[in-house]
């Protein structure tokens, strides 16, 4: 299977066009009808981060059959790791003018605790963005896959994991800002974060990260390991009997997926301007899973479509129909699994097959219509 196949080319083209269009429109003068303000750019940048998170979920769910209901935990850990560096950058520009963040002033701490060691270094923080979620996913995945926890059981304990972390990060004594989390960031690498230029740069970075992650995931899926992943999803026991070390395949991909989620979180934090324990809440993770289901599993670009659709629908509908939109949202969750098991991407593929008969054959990557009951 080639990496640079038709869907990948189309994805790169659409993403590239979208990103350059947004950047170009953001340079238009404020009076212009098509001009995008800094706020809109940051909102679209956040969508790109959600899309990256959805992509990482699809890698594990769509290709390995592991539904993690706790991927928000990896996203949030990446966000906190990067947010800690941004907090360091505030220095003595906080409300209390002390050398430590305001929430530490409330706790009576005068110095940074040991677990903040190294957060003043940008390189180390960037390393932690990948390392913290990766390490958690490695330990959690290693113990889970080794004892063959799979299917719904894995989903439920991953949900418990993110729930436990959300409780922990609500604690003030943990030293990560408690209920309020990290906010009120000022600068990054000397650049003022509250300017239109910083917003554009972060948006461009998010788009680049999404494209990069897509290519990494795509080349992974197209490799021999990718075939093993799909085999794990479709018949784990058989693959094990054939002689593969199923746990290793699962562990590698799950950890990689968690690192992608961490990167998404790190890019999200400066654009949203805040990270708090709500990102650990099980609800957030479930919503992201729903993005993937809506877009279509096992297709990578489906997850991106789903993330954009769900989040755009949320912002659009919630402002026009504050009461009714949740009904529509709920109905969507019911209708998609029942009526549209392969998501929006399935519709697109059907259309593409009709337009170019014989060209876009669905490879082994396509998710089977009926999933094996691996519980």
């Amino acid at each position: 299977m080639r990496v640079w196949d038709a869907p990948t080319r189309a994805f790169a083209l659409v993403l590239g066009f979208f990103a350059s269009a947004v950047l170009a429109l953001s340079f238009l003068p404020a009076g212009n009808a098509l001009a995008l303000g800094p706020f809109t750019v940051s909102v679209l940048g956040k969508y790109l981060c959600f899309a990256l998170l959805a992509l990482s979920i699809d890698l594990a769910w769509g290709y390995l059959g592991i539904l993690s209901l706790g991927h928000g935990a990896f996203f949030a850990l990446g966000g906190y790791a990067f947010g800690a560096h941004l907090m360091r950058q505030i220095g003595d520009r906080g409300v209390y003018g002390s050398g430590v963040p305001d929430f530490m002033v409330f706790l009576g701490w005068e110095e940074y605790p040991w677990h903040w060691l190294g957060t003043d270094s940008f390189a180390f923080s960037l390393f932690m963005v990948f390392c913290a979620p990766g390490l958690l996913a490695f330990v959690f995945g290693w113990t889970a896959f080794r004892s063959r926890v799979s299917g719904v059981y894995f989903s439920i304990i991953s949900q418990a994991l993110t729930y436990a972390l959300s409780l922990a990060f609500f604690l003030n004594a943990l030293g990560y800002g408690g209920n309020n989390g990290f906010t009120d960031f000022k600068t990054l690498l000397g650049f003022d974060l509250n300017t239109a230029g910083a917003g554009r740069a972060l948006f461009a970075l998010s788009a680049a990260a999404l494209l990069g992650a897509y290519l990494v995931a795509r080349s992974l899926v197209a490799s021999r390991l990718g075939l093993a992943m799909i085999a794990v999803r479709d018949n784990e026991t058989r693959l094990r009997f054939v002689g593969y070390r199923v746990e290793r395949v699962k562990l590698f991909v799950f950890t990689l997926s968690a690192m992608m989620a961490g990167l998404a979180g790190a890019l999200y934090v400066p654009q949203a301007g805040i990270i708090n324990p709500n990102s650990f809440a099980p609800l957030f993770s479930i919503e992201m899973v729903i993005c993937v289901a809506l877009g279509g599993r096992g297709r990578l670009y489906g997850a991106v479509i789903g993330a954009f659709l769900v989040n755009a629908a949320r912002s659009g509908l919630s402002s026009y129909f504050p009461n009714a939109w949740l009904f529509a949202f709920g109905a969507l969750f019911i209708a998609v699994p029942v009526a549209l098991p392969s998501g929006v991407a399935g519709l697109i593929e059907k259309g593409a097959r009709r337009l170019f008969p014989g060209r876009a054959a669905s490879g082994p990557g396509a998710f089977p219509e009926k999933e094996a009951l691996n519980g």
Partner: protein, 546 residues
Amino acid sequence: MRFSLSINPRAGAWVSRARLAALLALVFCALAGVARAQAPAASPLAPEVRESLLDPKVNARDRAIALLAEDLSEESARILTFLKNGDLFFDAETRKLYLRVGEKSFVTLSGEEYGGSAPLKKSAVNNRQRQKIQSALNARSLQSPDPQARREASRALIASGEMELETLQALIEAEDDSEARENLRAARAAAVLKDPQAAEGDILSALALFQERPAPEARELIRVKAESPDAREAQAARKALASLEARAQRLAFFETLFFGLSLGSVLVLIAIGLAITFGVMGVINMAHGEMAMLGAYAVWFLQELMPDRPLAALLLAIPLAFVGAGLVGALIERGVIRFLYQRPLETLLATFGISLILRQAALLFISANNRPIVTPAFFGGQWRIADGFAVSVGRVSIIVFCLAVFFALVALLRYTRLGLETRAVTQNREIARAMGVKAARVDALTFALGSGVAGLAGVALSLIANVGPNMGQGYIVDSFMVVVFGGVGNLWGSLAGGLVIGLANKFMEPAYGAILAKILIMVGIIFFIQRRPSGLFPPRGRAARG
């Protein structure tokens, strides 16, 4: 309203019903501070007492209190009670005494209402005098024919230690209720400890008594003796304190045990419905918490319908919640879930959508705010098990209710036709269908049963938790943990799992705090599942697939 049940009611000491009722009412007034007008009983008050009560100086009240305390009549007790509560007033012009019986209503001692418009003056007392009145009223209760009143009064006496030793001795000899006698003995020991002139032998035997029968009321008196220069006294006091500590620890243990069982039973109640839909049918029902929400709203709805009878409404809500939530469950199964069997992860998404819709509907059509639930008086009461250890009747009822629902469900699955068919479909759907079981009908009924049980859990929850659109969300993670921890497909596992989690939570709370305890339990369960993926009670034999 105070509610008190004794574990050892002695029927023999019931004197006459009328007298008992009058005395009980009196004790209630004294203890709960609820002043009510009694049947009017005209009695000429001694002029000396009247003068003392009408005096604007507070210290002048001493005389009246001493005289009224000596007199054992009901009338004096009534005046003392009102005086203590600050409900005794007088009219400076007519020099008449008035009792305040309501916000702005006053009656004379003989029951005539005050019709004047001038504000009445209060016959005030200070804290020292209030204590004096309290001990006088206690002393009076010690003579009461009702053993319960004597027990309460004698217990109060241990704390104060204020009574002549001879009087106490006489009371002990006359007392025929064993609990009250024990209390009086402790009170005498307390009085000895308080007496600076007491002989060493008496003090030692008093301390020995406290070592034998620890009384938390006398802790301060014993602590003083523990610093006594006399080595033997100090040692005896330390021993008594140690036994007091040991008793306090035992009580704390039982209290934690009870709270743990109470929390565990709530978890079990919510989880057993899920143990059926998730455990037996394999459906991840994210709308399970909303089924409990429906049950809780059923209580609120019925209480709105019959505002005067909260208890009846609560009891009627049990069948309504079961049937209502069950019907909604059957609708969900027929409308959505039956298209998604064999795809467990997609039922999760669909039921999450259902949960969203139900929550939003509750928010829109009922209210975003929590609904008030009236706790019937019976459930609001306390049940005294031992000295210093009382449990709430409401929580005991929830434990009992939980066990009743659990065993009913176990019996239903084991002994009824539906239970047999459910088990058959779970074990082997194809064979069951070949044997003539209508699998689709069984699916719908089983799902309705699980949802109905969640509705029952909602009825219980309405007594202890906020009833609002988001109430179900707080329990969904916990109840999944209970089911997975106990072992999927095993009702007994859910019972054990819920109780273990509840107990572990409450026993860890004092050491780690509520949030950290919860985190540790979550992490503990995660590791437990990873060690033993099939939970506490894994399915054996043919039921163990995969």
